[in-house]
Amino acid sequence: MLSTDNAIMVTGLRKTFGTVKALDGLDLRIRHGEIAGFLGPNGAGKSTTLRVLLGLIRADPESPPIEVLGADPWRDAVELHKRLAYVPGDVNLWPSLTGGETIDYLGGLRGGLDQRRREELIERFELDPSRKNRVYSKGNRQKVALVAALAARAELFLFDEPTAGLDPIMEAVFTECVAEIKSAGGTVLLSSHILAEVEKTCDTVTIIRAGRAVEAGSLADMRHLTRFRVEVKLRGSAAALAGLEGVHDLTHDPDRARFTCDTGALDAVMTALAGIGIETLTCAPPSLEELFLSHYATPATPATPAAPDVPVAPAARVAPGDGS
């Protein structure tokens, strides 16, 4: 029934707060040893999901059973928590304790930390553990929680927007740490709305919106769902492109064309373009950003195939391989 290959197995998860449906039939499956991204806009239900997975809040009674490392997180929370570590999204720490004391206390609850790892992580995250939590910035509080979690001997790590508040250098340290977890065979669920982070660190991604998963799969799989963006200046007339298989959203002047192109049709389209005669060409590969935005910019409907009929926002950060 429930597979033990999966570190996390959630189907049809519902969670209602009063009249608000925070989670509305969410599916989430993460295999052992996988680094899984969990993407969604603010209020999509990412943190709620993590808190259900931790047994801090209880799924609605009609939800099917949840399995985290083979255990029911609500019933077996204590046993389960010996094997996982968690960093909350909004880290608040006891103001009168120092960062070092906080790390030791949280470790003490688990029966002790790996001391060498503790020292090493404090060094790598450039944390001063003798300062009081009340004077730490948000980023430093985040580091305290990260060190406490990463120094734990855990099989599964749940991170809720772990790098919010970290500077780019510390973000890179965190990415390294995730890679180390992976090479040690650990499993990670990383909630984020920073696409670059997920693209860089994760094997798979689940995109959620309004309490349900709208897309899930490996990043490679997902790219198939989006189209290349092509801008071309032609020697001949662009009008001939209109009827071409796999070409969408075409706008053109007599010699200039802009369109999106199905991944599978690229070969045929390029041949056609070459036939007309290419003067300049830029072709941007699909990014997760496009997929993400396409899901966010349209009204919440369940998993329709990603159709980038929405122009990519000018603020789009990720355009790997942009040839221009």
Partner: protein, 545 residues
């Protein structure tokens, strides 16, 4: 830095004040309604009860004892104990103390607490002066205390037999001391680094002022100068000699004091950074001590300061009251009539008086420790809201273990604190040679008799926090009742069953009375049921974010 700092620094304070009133309207309304609503019927009942002649004079004789002085006032007009003199002597101090508590807690809540939650930062970033929030809070609370004072003064006009001018002075004295304490609250909010710390400084100042004037008021009986009552803002209201020989200038003194302290708060506010106290945060240990590595260690670490404060306050109460008891022997010997009120034989009369008095002292100490308990357990709710509980429960810690560690640590601390304060008192009383040494175990017994009530207080607070967190503030209600019972039941001759409505009053502490085992048993069973229910409910509910 700025020659006329008033204008830019205050920018926007009016809008902030409106915002404060809107946000804290419930809090403001409760004090504004509750204090006059409790005060006026009580004042009216006292006035009706008072009668000149033998009864009234016997009461005056009681109020002249050190006990009467400590819990009443300096005793102006005892030789002609009119209803007005009686109200001023026996009730004014409590009204002034209540308004003082309202003032400090409200100002701290509106300033430091908000700052701690980071809300002031949002406001501060908008177009408002740096110290506008402080000014707005003090302004709102000043209006509040003046309104309370005037409501009481105006309401008293309807009580027959009280001169109108004195009624007004009575209300104004309450308002003026209220203003002094709102300024003290503002200063406390600048000195501490946390809302809890600021509240502790503020409430501690009220307690200290109460003791200081108790010391000063009893000094007259020892033929010593009563300077201490003049140093304590709580002593000033009585020093108007309202309804006896009205003087206005102590009210003026309170206003000048209020202005001075407000100025100090204003000056300190300019010298510190947002979020910081006056003293910079010192670095601490980079590693946790062994005894911090489990939940009860953390609870202890975070509450021990408060415990020392509240237990220390109880001990100071004992230290101050001890000499009063020691003096009671001489006093009764010189005043055989009053000794007769307590018992026929002056010697056994002394013991009876000491026992009755000690029961009240121990009850007050238990109330102090109950405040510690309720604050400590309500902290659990605040911790849950701030995500601390989530962090702990995300580790391999069961909910019953976490809640149980909090309950056990706080309840044990409270019992220890009470034992400490009670022992201090006992040691001081024991220095009185006139006292029968056999009285001592009785006083120790009174401390033990207060234990069940304190444990039940913890159980109730824990149940509310765990099962009905939205109603957690209700845990104060039984405590308020116990306090009201302690003050009003003897005066009005409330029937015995009225004591059973609140944990701390349920078991009679008087060493002279037989132990009410039934009440002890009921308290014990109720406590166990409530603790158990708290754990069951906490296991079943969602953890708040």
């Amino acid at each position: 830095m700025d020659a006329r700092p008033g204008v830019p620094e205050l920018a926007g304070w009016g809008r902030l004040a409106v915002g404060i009133v809107r946000r804290d309207r419930l809090r403001l309304a409760i004090w504004l309604v509750a204090v006059p609503a409790i005060a006026l019927p009580t004042l009216s009942a006292y006035a009706a009860m008072s009668e000149t002649g033998a009864g009234g004079q016997a009461r005056a004789a009681l109020m002249a004892t050190p006990t009467g002085t400590v819990f009443g006032g300096p005793g102006y007009g005892l030789d002609d104990y009119t209803s007005g003199a009686m109200i001023a002597n026996e009730l004014l101090l409590y009204l002034v103390s209540a308004v003082a508590l309202a003032a400090v807690t409200l100002v701290v809540h509106m300033t430091r607490h908000e700052e701690e939650l980071g809300r002031l930062e949002l406001v501060g970033a908008a177009v408002v002066g740096r110290r506008a929030a402080l000014a707005a809070a003090v302004a709102v609370v000043s209006v509040e205390v003046v309104a309370i004072g005037l409501a009481i003064g105006a309401g008293m006009l309807a009580i027959p037999g009280l001169p109108n001018v004195d009624c007004l002075a009575f209300g104004l004295a309450i308002a003026a001391v209220g203003l002094a304490f709102s300024a003290i609250g503002a200063l406390a909010a600048q000195l501490a680094t946390t809302g809890r710390g600021a509240a502790a400084i503020g409430v501690g100042t009220v307690g200290g002022a109460f003791l200081l004037r108790a010391f000063g008021d009893t000094a007259t009986a020892r033929d010593a100068p009563d300077w201490a009552s003049w140093v304590s803002p709580l002593g000033w209201a009585n020093r108007t000699r309202v309804f006896v020989d009205l003087m206005w200038w102590p009210i003026l003194l309170a206003l000048v004091f209020a202005a001075g302290v407000a100025w100090a708060a204003w000056a300190v506010a300019a010298r510190r950074d947002m979020g910081a106290g006056l003293a910079a945060s010192q670095p601490g240990p980079a590693r946790a001590a062994k005894n911090l590595l489990h939940p009860s260690g953390l609870v202890w670490r975070r509450t021990r300061g408060a415990l020392y404060g509240w237990a220390g306050g109880g001990a100071i109460l004992g230290l101050c009251m001890g000499p009063v008891m020691a003096g009671l022997g001489d006093y009764l010997e010189n005043n055989p009539t009053i000794a007769g009120l307590f018992g026929v034989d002056p010697r056994s009369g002394l013991n009876a008086a000491v026992e009755a008095f000690s029961a009240v002292i121990v009850l007050y100490m238990a109330i102090l420790m109950a405040v510690f308990v309720i604050l400590g357990l309500n902290q659990f709710k605040a911790d849950e809201a701030r995500g601390f509980v989530e962090l702990e429960l995300a580790g391999p810690v069961s909910r019953p273990r976490l809640l149980g560690a909090t309950e056990a640590t706080i309840a044990m601390s409270a019992l220890l604190g009470l034992a400490f304060a009670g022992t201090t008192y006992l040691l001081v009383v024991s220095t009185d040679q006139n006292l029968d040494p056999a009285t001592a175990p009785g006083i120790g017994g009174a401390v033990l008799r207060a234990f069940p009530g304190l444990i039940l207080t913890a159980a109730l607070a824990s149940f509310l926090v765990a099962a009905l967190p939205r109603l957690a503030a209700l845990s104060w209600l039984p405590l308020a009742y116990s306090f009201a019972h302690a003050v009003l039941a003897p005066a009005f001759g409330w029937p015995n069953w009225t004591r059973y409505f609140a944990p701390l009053s349920a078991v009679d502490l008087s060493p002279g009375e037989a132990i009410d085992w039934r009440a002890v048993a009921v308290a014990g069973v109720l406590a166990i049921v409530l603790f158990k229910a708290a754990h069951v409910a906490f296991k079943r509910r969602d953890i708040a974010t």
